[in-house]
Symmetry: C2
Subunit: 196 residues, 2 copies
């Protein structure tokens, strides 16, 4: 069975891939509209982990609408959730047996309710897998520590392949860098450099 | 890191153990008050899977109270949930880094709410793992098919190491076999004979 794991190059989606690896033929997938260098960074991290990689084209309007949402809200949660749901639909429509992501039990965003998961599975004839939802924050941290070589730093200095990178780029272009800081409180991001 | 997986000899707890196996030193644990042959059957299945096994003693009162609940309700859900929560507390108090179970995303019983999981982790200083909550019914079935050698049949003919076996034994002894059939609608159970 093959599984497409929605991949940002961060520790959560990397760990999700490692958990599935013994049971599925894993491909790491980065969905992007090409408004930032997301695919470049995700592809590099996928190579470092030793997984095949596929770039999935997103409609630019999906990212732009999510960006409007983030700016209107003043925080990223709803915009990121909207992109992620859209990406799951896109990837579920590809030719994989399963679509997976790095959603965690203790995450607030993105969250995939069971009803959404079942609907996605029924409509596309795929399995939706979120292996990290079975693990709490502490367990995830310990597994990352043991199995991944991770670099961390502030979001703006750590180029990644996540939705945030692309939304940041659009906000910076349309509203200026100050609006980026207003919408995204400073926090530490991670980027994976390989397996341990 | 070592993990104690609450184990019945059925396909769900077996698959949970297989998912954790590449990342933890797994021990399969059967908690029983000894009112049925649960530990015998669970130990045999654990051996067939190639995992170490530990029997954990439950207070007889825990099973008897759950049995009263099942008879009063006329269905097993609340009684089984009560035993499972008690067992998680007991196993979390042992000397493992993590306690795990075979709870599934699409299960109605037992269900472990996130708040219960976090409380268990905080109070006992362990990680609670429920690897199957990241997988839907279809994905679980396909993984079982691929990785486990499973025998299935009606509950009363398939001796297992689950809570149901012990509750059935107590009901049969105290209320007679008819009450067993009234409380447990006939359904197909599984018992694992090894890995594929």
């Amino acid at each position: 069975m093959d599984a497409a794991v929605c991949f940002s190059g961060g520790k959560d989606s990397s760990l999700a891939a490692l958990l599935l690896d013994p049971f599925y033929d894993v491909t790491l997938v980065c969905a992007t509209a090409g408004l930032a260098d997301s695919a470049v960074h995700a592809r590099e991290a996928a190579g470092d982990l030793g997984f095949p990689f596929e770039r999935v084209e997103l409609e630019e309007s999906v990212v732009r609408e999510a960006t409007e949402q983030v700016v209107a809200d003043g925080f990223p949660r709803n915009g990121i959730q909207a992109i992620h749901e859209h990406v799951l639909e896109e990837v579920a429509g590809l030719d994989y047996d399963a679509v997976a992501d790095g959603t965690r039990r203790d995450d607030r965003v993105p969250t995939i309710p069971r009803a959404f998961a079942q609907s996605l599975e029924d409509r596309h004839g795929v399995d939706y897998l979120s292996p990290l939802t079975g693990f709490g924050r502490g367990a995830v941290d310990r597994l990352v520590e043991t199995h991944l070589d991770v670099e961390s730093g502030p979001s703006e200095q750590l180029p990644k392949g996540d939705y945030e990178a692309e939304i940041r780029a659009v906000i910076a272009e349309e509203y200026g860098p100050e609006t980026v800081s207003e919408c995204f409180p400073e926090h530490t991001q991670t980027r994976v450099r390989g397996r341990r």
